[in-house]
Structure formats: structure tokens, C-alpha cells
């Protein structure tokens, strides 16, 4: 009986770690850049969140990519899965304005999906949700 229990537990734990490894592999080559900019100055503030959890910030008028922190794994997973979900992928939004908010979703250094919108405009709820979640990382 004990053997069975131990075996069962082993199987359970193995399955869990497989899922964890699977997510790490899934996001390994992904990153999302997001931010806003434009206006009178053309200045753009950009953040980048990598699949590894590293969050970077590129200030306006700067080319330096500054490490900010490592994001919480649970939050990270939620964000990437949400960004890569069908309902986000179905949304096409490329309507920049004088002040533009943007999210660019990369995989293997290529843009998978890109959204841009004018500040203050109505955008799809799902897109607004993703943007809010990303900004909470800052």
C-alpha cells in the first residue's frame, strides 16, 4: 500500500514538474515590449518582460535597457498565456495617435502580434486588460 502511495505521489509530482518545465520552455524565446509615447516630444517609455521573468525599462531618449526586477512566476505565466491566447490573437488593432500605447509580442526575435492605439480611445476590453496587467509589473 505504502509503495503504491509513494508511487502515486511520485507520479503526481513528476507530472507537476513536467508542466512547469513545459511552461518554461514555452516562454523561453518570448518577450513582450509595451509602453506609450509620442506627443510633443515623441518620447516613448518602453518596458520589456521576458519569458524568464526579467523586466527591463528603456527610458525615453535612451538606448539603455535597464533591468528592473524579476517578475513573479505566477503573474508572468498568466500574462504570457493571456497574450498568446486566441482571443487576443483575434484582435487586430493598429490605430496610433499623437500619444500611442503599444504592445509588441515577440517570439524568436520576431513580432508575433502587435497592437497600437491612441491614448484615450476605446480599445477592446481584452487588450486593455493585457495592458493593465503588463503595467502592473512596473
Amino acid at each position: 500500500m505504502k509503495t503504491l502511495v509513494l508511487l502515486g505521489l511520485t507520479v503526481v509530482f513528476s507530472m507537476n514538474s513536467c508542466r512547469h518545465i513545459a511552461f518554461r520552455k514555452y516562454v523561453k524565446d518570448m518577450y513582450i515590449s509595451y509602453g506609450r509615447g509620442g506627443g510633443f516630444t515623441g518620447a516613448t517609455e518602453t518596458h520589456i518582460i521576458r519569458g524568464s521573468g526579467s523586466l527591463y525599462h528603456i527610458k525615453a531618449f535612451s538606448t539603455d535597457t535597464v533591468f528592473v526586477k524579476t517578475a513573479n512566476k505566477k503573474t508572468l505565466k498568466e500574462i504570457f498565456l493571456y497574450a498568446d491566447s486566441k482571443k487576443l490573437k483575434k484582435i487586430d488593432w493598429n490605430k496610433p495617435g499623437n500619444m500611442t500605447g503599444f504592445i509588441h509580442f515577440y517570439r524568436d526575435e520576431r513580432i508575433v502580434k502587435s497592437w497600437q492605439w491612441s491614448e484615450g480611445s476605446d480599445i477592446p476590453v481584452e487588450l486593455r486588460e493585457l495592458y493593465n496587467r503588463l503595467n502592473k509589473l512596473n
Binding site: 506609450r36 516630444t41 515623441g42 496610433p96
Partner: protein, 1074 residues
Amino acid sequence: MKYMLLFALLLASLSSGAQTPFDKRSKKTNLPPTPFINTIQKTDGSALNTMQDRPSLMDKALKEFDIRKDAAKRSPASNPAHARDIAFMFLKQEGVSIDTKFNPDDLRMYESTIDGQGIYHIKFQQVFRGIDVFGAEIFVHLLNGETYAHGNWANIPDNFNTAANISYQASMDAAVRSLQPEWGFKPFTQEEKELLKYEGPESRLIVLMLEERPVLCYDIFIRPNIMERWKVRVNALTGAVIESYNYTCHVDGPRTGTGTDLNGVTRTINSYLIGSTHYLIDATKSMFSLSASILPDDPAGAIWTIDAGTTSGSSFNQVTSASPNFSNPRAVSAHYNAGVAYEYYKNTFNRNSINGTGGTIISVINIADQNGQTMDNAYWNGTFIAYGNGRDIFKPLAGSLDVAGHEMTHGVVEKSANLEYKNQSGAINESMADIFGCMMDRDDWKLGEDIMKPGITSTGALRDMQDPHNGGSSLTDNFYQPKHMTEYYNGTQDNGGVHINSGIPNHAFYLFATAVGKERAEQVYYRTLTVYLTKTSQFKDLRKAVIQSATDLYGTSVAAEAGEAFDAVGIYEPSPGSPIGNNVADLPVNPGQDFILYYDLDPSVSSTLTIAVVSSGSASGQTTRLIKKKPSVVDNGAYCYYVGSDSRIYRLLLDGSKTETLVSDQTIWDNVAVSKDGKRLAAITSNQDTSIYVWDFGKQEWHQFKLYNPTYSGVTSGGVLFADALEWDHTGTRIMYDAKNIINNNAGSDYVYWDVGIMNVWDLESNSWSTGKIEKLFSSLPDNVSIGNAVFSQRSPYIVAFDYVNAATNQYSVVGYNLNTNTSGTIFNGRDLGFPSYSKNDNILLFNAFNTFDEEVVAQAPLATDKINRTGSPTVVVSLAKWGVWYANGTRPLLFGNKDITSFAFLGLDPPVQATISGTTITATVPSTTDLTKLVANFTSSPYSVVKINGIIQTSGVNVNDFTTPVTYTVVAQDGTSKNYTVRVVKSSVSVNIPQKEFLKVYPNPAGGILNIEHKEPVQRIEIYSSTGQLLMEETPVSNSHRLNIGQLEPGAYISFIYTAEGRIPYWFVKQFQ
């Protein structure tokens, strides 16, 4: 968001029911109106508490006193003193019953009167050790048979301290200090003192009950000026100002005061007084409408400054003051600068505000970014100008007049050319904003110099039109802009470099204005923006528009200066004769037989939709179903779609079988249109749901696209209610629709109009849904004009016809319009909507009309070869009928498959170089000194094709590429097929010798119909090329002097090659408008 209150009146007026002729086409279900948005909260931002804010505290401190007693046995009062005694005795007897602490000895009688009825009224003031207790008064009335006492009484403890710590004078000084910032006390003249009987502030001690506690105060009466009267109460122990209020009775309206701006300059400020509060609402301009305003939260035709309170725009507060003077420097700067910008447009161009029709100009200060940090920027969001307070690079941005002018000009651009905010059109948008910002702040050519922190740039400015490099040396340097096309930024950042590449047209303006003067230059550019530019204008179109505007206003010499300015920055004239863009090709004629599908109105006939054979005139009814709108036919004439009167979608085969199929049994539809290739349906519902629904037969799914009115900022808040007529373009990717819009104008009444938009719903390259991006057929329509029922011609994708209605003159016309040349023609003037339809050859237009018997008919008119004008008289095709649709039942390609590069050159080189095209290989030999890493190619390709390098779209005369190794140009046809060309550029091993250019004379330049060419040596050959490298003319004069007839050339810039025995001499010239 609270700022949406600005549209509260707009939204609330949805049910007003204003109608135009286009409304009669269908009845829509009204949506419930949007709830009225909360009003803006008021804050005065000062430390003073007004009486209005705190009445409840006073009320609780005093006890109410109310006693009535029978007085039948009371002896009548014989005089006021006797009455006082009676009253006093009454209070002594009865007052204790109200409050055991009541002490009548603490009463001071200050009035005893008798009225016409013989009733005495005695008024007592409560005092405490001789000091009045404010608000504690008791009145006793000796009525007939009754004594009545009422009032308020305060319980003050015996040990209450009545010794003041500060003097009378100190209290008055405190009062003056508290009002000084807002009022700036003005000394009275002797006459004013005598008139007002006022020598200065007056102060007395009182006991003030606050929160049920007595406070010893100085009660001060003070006048800041001849009009205002203030009460200020100062704590007699601490010297703190407890409260103050203005008790002058005012008339609401505009006021003028002063304020110090962010640069320390005292400015005259126009505000608006409501009650005793001044708001930063400038109602002094002629555009202001009191009747249309809801003050202070929705002024109409005002200049209005509000405060975002360091939010990102989630809440807004009024900026207020108790006086006409304002002490908030950011608000003063923003408000003053908005006024200056308004006056600039009004006085220079007679433009009434941003939108040209007196719309309110709104400035918002203290805007933060979304993380709550202070914003290092300012922007225009389609509704207001927002100013951040700076952070790392800038000081508060409201402090700069060129920022205000720049942002306001974005609004002007939105309401005129409405330049799309990306790539070159976006760079022109930014450039216009810089230009007019600079013209307002016109003592220099810099932007942002007043607000940039020291040490950020060597020039002290954000941008410099005189030298866009701005102290940098390349695109990698911050705040550097290119000033020539060879420095053009090709990347995708900044929406394709709108803030970067704007340096090039900025510099062109600087050169032009330096040559002709700022006054002329700004007039030319304003005309350019408001008359000639379109939303997708490129740099070459800007050049053309500026030259035309200069010619219109000042003639050819000023136009030539404009041309030289653009030449100097590398923007050359586009190829003449070809319109903006290269989309001039026509589709082939449908090879099938001609038919007309129409809706029969003959009451003796049961059928509705009927097919008539054009050649024979025979007609056959296809269905008896009543339908809501004009049917939509696929290009090969196999079937049509329509919405039945039951609001369901049906399909009818047009093969004569009369097979009608129910497509959608949802009873929600109002109109449907099938794409010409039959792959998609566009449909709208009977509700005002501001959407177009598209069904794709391949994906088997619906997609909803929302309607909006595109603005400079990309999306505007709305104004669009619903769509009605639908028409697909030939590619099956775009839908042309008409839509009802509603606007609340400054006169207060709703303004309803219909206009036409084109929505991008499908992407051929990805074979999937597109963004739903909308372009309007016209960015603005004249007052009282509506357009609708737009259709494409059958062969020319750039030709449309539509109904035009002027409600003021009751004019109904069917109009043809060329999208490329922006020209129109009136085809028919009728008395109702026409619902036009082109024949398969585009040589006839069908439309609804009325015959002499006042019966509806389907009529036709022959068209000129331009397809937008009529050549002969209209005739009746079918009587008692409407909604004629001309179609043919043949099959033809609907997408262009041409994918050729037809010319290739490097015209920016000296001398310019023509390339040779051989199959898919293009070769060019350039001078040995050429930098191959930065070459700009000029080329033409097949109509409707797109040219790319590594997936990046190329524009002739724009993109800079590295030609040190062969470059592959990919031409993608409209049908998605592509062809690759390899471009090889080699340097000549021989340095180019430009033979004896100094002996060449070419005149006049600009030229009219004749170009004179003279040279010391005999001219052997003359070649004339377009600016994209197309050979247009060649002659072989073989003489020293030759008159070249160029009358057939279109106005524009050309390059000529003049050959002598010494070699070839290039020469640019301009053919002017005649």
C-alpha cells in the same frame, strides 16, 4: 471618464429626431440614451474655507429658541421702551424653560419697533461679557393675545476667555494677507472713500460658535476694491483666519484679471464669474455662445482650462479663483497660450478656433502618466491639449507657447487634411504642428526652447527647423532629425518616424520662409493644409501642394522658391500626369451579357425584383418578396443578396430559375451587400448599433467592425450612429458605406448629416480579417450637405458615384467623383435620392428619378470618358421602378496581377542616372564618387502593386538603401503574386565630366509652353524625363539654339538631358501651370 461630460449634451440629444432625406430609407431602433455624466468637481485649491462650505457647523452650535404664550392678560405696551421691558420680562420668565442656562442679562436689545398693526417687535442680541455672540439673536413679538419669542441661543461656559491675544490691527493685517494673493488690494481715492463711506477695514470682537464651541474672533469687514465686500473672521487668540466670504451680489459673466505664468510674466487672464467663483473660461471671443453653454462644466465656444489633478486623465477639476486673478502659474500659462493660439489662427487665417466653427478649446494641466508620475510631455488627444509638468528633460510644458501652438495645430490638421499619423503623412502632420507652433512663437526657429532643462541639448531646444540636426550628427543621437531625404529614417519606431522625418519638411519650410518671408510662407502652408493635402499625402504631394498654393496666392516666382526649398531637401516633383499614387489602371470589361435588375413598383404586377435584358428589353419577374433596400449583385451576375421586409437575408439566383434561398433567418437585418467575388457578405442590423457585420464564407464566421469617425488621434469619441448603404470594392477587402452622424453645434441644436466612409475589413496577404480602419471619402462636408448611396464604377476602382443632398437649397444630385484627382462632376439633378449604378462599360449611369407623371422610374444618363460627367440627356429605362442595378454575367479578374518595375533611376545623383531594365535585372552605372551605401531610387511599378525590399515597403524617391551588393526588389501585385528584380549598381571607372555646363542656357524656368535651349556647341539631342525616370520627349535639333515645345507636358518638374559633342548635360526645370 469625467471629461466625457463634454459630450453629455451631445449624447442626451440623441432622441431629438432630426431627419435628412437619407433617414427616410429606413427606420432604426433607438438605443437608450447614455446616462448624464457626473459634473466636474470644483476645488478652489486654497486654504480658505468659505461660508458656503460650512453652514452645518454653525447650525449645530446654537440652540433653537421658540416660545408662544397666551397674552390675554398682558397689558399693552405704551412705547418701545415699555415693549422692551415686557419682552425682557417674558424671556426672563419663559427662557429658562428652554434652557436652564438661559440668562436674560446676556441680552442686549438693539431694536424695538411697532408695525402698522400695532404690534411691537423687539430684537435682542446675545452677548457674553459685552461681546456679541454671532448668530445668537432672539426676537420677541407682542402679538394680539399672544407673546411669541423665537431665535437662537448659545451656551457659553463661564470660564470662556474673552481676552484677545492679538490686536485689532493685527487681525486686520491677517485679513488683508489672506485676500491679497487673489485680490491685490488697490488703494482707494478720497472720492471713493467718501462714496463708499469706507476708510479701511473695520474689526470688532465677536464670539463665534464653531462645532458647539465658542471661539473668540475678530469679525472684519474689508473691501479689496470698490465692488467687492468681504467678511473675514480671524481667531483672536491665534491670529489664524477661520473663514471668509464675499457678500457682494454679482452678475455672472466674463471677467478680466491677471496672473503670473510659468515664466514669471504677468498675463492678462480672461475668466468667467459664476456666483462668487471665477473659472478659467474665456468667453470673450466671438465664438462664445451662452445659450449653448452649460456653465461651468460645458462651455460652448470658449477657451477653457481645467486640471487633471496629476491623474492620467481619470478625473478633472475646474481651476477656480475667488477673484479674477489667478495664482496657478501652470493654469495661467496654459490659458494664456491657448488664447494666443486662438488669436493667431483668427487674425492670420480668419480661422474660428481649432475646428474652424468656433469649437471650445480645452487645455488640461497637471496631466500625469499612467503610473502616476509627472509627465515629461504634452499631447493632443482629439479633444483637448494635455500638459505634463516635466520630469527629467522638460520643465512644465504649459510654459511654452510653441507647445500650445503645436498641439492646437494637430487639432487643425485633424479638422482639415486629417493626415494619417504614420510614415510620411504622419511626418507632415508633425511638421505642420511644428511650423505653426513656430509661427506663433516666431522669434526663432526652435521648438521647446522655453521648457527644456539646461544641458539636455547643445541648442537648448527639442527641435530646430533651421538645423534639424540640432547639435547631433546621426539618427542615433537624441533630438537629431534628418534635414534631407538622404538621411531619411526607414524604421518602424515612432509610427514610422513621424517625429524624426518631420525634420525634412520642417527644413523645407524654413528655407522657403527665409526666401519669401514668414507672412507669405505661413499663408501658403495654411492653404496647403486646408485646401490641397489629403489624409495620405506623401512628401512629394506636400511639395506639389505647396507649389500650387504659392502659385494661387503669390504667383510663379514665389512658387519657384517653394520648389527650390523642396529640391534642397531632396523632395522632388512627382511624375506629372500621374495622380497621387500609381493606381490608375482599369479592370477589364465584364465579357458577359448586360442585364438590369430592378425593383418593380407597378401595382398591376406582383413581382418585385425583375431582370431586364438590356439588348432586347425583355423583362422577367424573379420574386414577389418585398425587400428593404437595393439588392447587391456579385460581379459575375450569378446571384444577388437582399434583406426582405421580414428582416431576413435572402439570396436569389439570377439565372432565371427564380431560386430564392433564405441565408439568415435572424429577423434583425436592415441591409446586406455581397463582395464582388462572392466571398464575403457585409450586413447591418435594424438597431443603431454602430457596427457593420461581415461574414466570410471561407472562415464561416462573422466579424463585427465598429464604426467611428477617424480623427488625427486615430479614434474619436463618436458622432456616428449607424450605417445604411453598403458597397464592396473590387478587391473584396474594403466596404464603402454611408453613415448617419450627429453633432451638437454651437447654436445648441443637433446637427445631423450623412457621409461616406471606406472601411478596411480584409487583408489579402494574410487572408484574414483586417483592422477595420476607416477613411472618409471627404474629411469634412459643407454645412447642410449630406452624401450617401456611394457605388464604385465597374472598371475603375478610383471612380465613385453618390447621392449629394443640400438640405438648405433642397438640391438633390447624383455626383461622380475621381478619388485620384479629387475632381467631381454632376451627372443628374433630381428631386430625391438617385441610388446610382454604373453600366459594365462605365459609359452609362442608372439612377432613380421621376417622370413627368410624377412616377418613380429607373433612368439612365450617358457618361463622358472621365466617368464623372454626363454627355447627353437622361432617359427613362423602366417606368414605375426603382433601384436599378446594372450587371453582366461574365467572369473577369477582379484583382490586378501586374507586377512589373517599369522604370528605375537615381535622380538625386549629379548627374542623375537612368538604370537599364532587362527582364528582372536592373543595372545602373553611377559616378565614381557616389556613396553606394546611401542611395535613393526613383522607380515606377505596375498599378496597384507594392514594391518591397525584405518585406519593407519602398516608396519612389524616399527609401535610402545600401547598393554595395545587389538588392532584391520584390513587386507584389494586388492578387498576391510577386516578382523579384535584382538591382545592381556599379560605379563608373571614369570620373564624370559634365561638359561645358557653363555654356548652356535654358530659359525660362519655370517654363510655359516653350523651353529655349542654347549652347556654344551644337545641341545634338534633347531628352525630357519625368522625375521618376520615364522618357517623355526626345528631339534631335542639331543647332546651337532650339525652341522646344513642351505644351503637352503636365505642370511639374522634369529633368532634361542635353547632348552635345562634349557629352551629356542634365538640367532640371519646372513646367508651370498655365
